[in-house]
Amino acid sequence: MRKRTTPYFECALLTLALGWSAVVMAQNWRKLESDGLHDPGSEAVKVLQDPAEAMSQLPPDTAGNKVDWIRALQGGYIKPRSALRGEKEYEVLDGDVLMNIGGSTPAVLFPHKPHTQWLDCKNCHEGLFQSKAGATPITMEKILQGEYCGVCHGAVAFPLTECNRCHSVRQMDAIKRVRGTP
């Protein structure tokens, strides 16, 4: 048995969905000529690439550039070079550091892997962080002032409004992981 109303309903839904995604797409990235930075009278705004053109092709995200840069890199959507000319060898370290164990927020998990796919050890060690878990006196206040993690997060990497991306491990689980009990 067929219901005659269904196609219309679906059609309406589809239209809504398409309209909505168009609005969202248009909203994500500003045109250069109206972004408040570029001089609309400059020749450049006619030549330079609009952010939407490049970034709408990459895995989406909700904050910062609205691009999931880790998935973009790991999924091969982009292949940013590691050196000025050709490629250089670099170490990708697959080690996590847990922080703020026993605190009032979920514990912080710092993953070395996604960081070392973009950055050299010396971008962080020993200037920003010591190579010993717990040795660096990091606080949230300092981070919000642009120190420690806040050097990059809140400037270039995803912004500090995304608390749960760093505070990502339940305290119970963090304590278990550190004690080594299952």
Partner: protein, 116 residues
Amino acid sequence: MLGLLVCWAPGSGAEYADVVLNKRSDKEGVRPVIYPHWFHRIRFQCRVCHGELGFVMRVGATDVTMDEISQGRFCGACHNGEIAWSVENCDLCHSGKPGLPTGIKGGHQTTGPGLW
């Protein structure tokens, strides 16, 4: 419906992580420089600029001058007609509205959405 439109009104402001460099440009009579992180990180990892090329991770901290760029340092390491288009294209880098202060958009040094 009006409520929805208001919610979806385009947020004002530049692309996240765009850098304005204007320590000397205004004074010397050229537009401030707009450097887009998003565009470059599609092509280069952070380590290239913040390692090999010596850009400090603090906007304004690196002393970049046009002379050095023309001699192949900083932006000029790539904008030399070989890796990217050359320094002759003044307007493509000097594209900002006059008077913009040096800083990063969306960063902790500005009042952008990423103040936090």
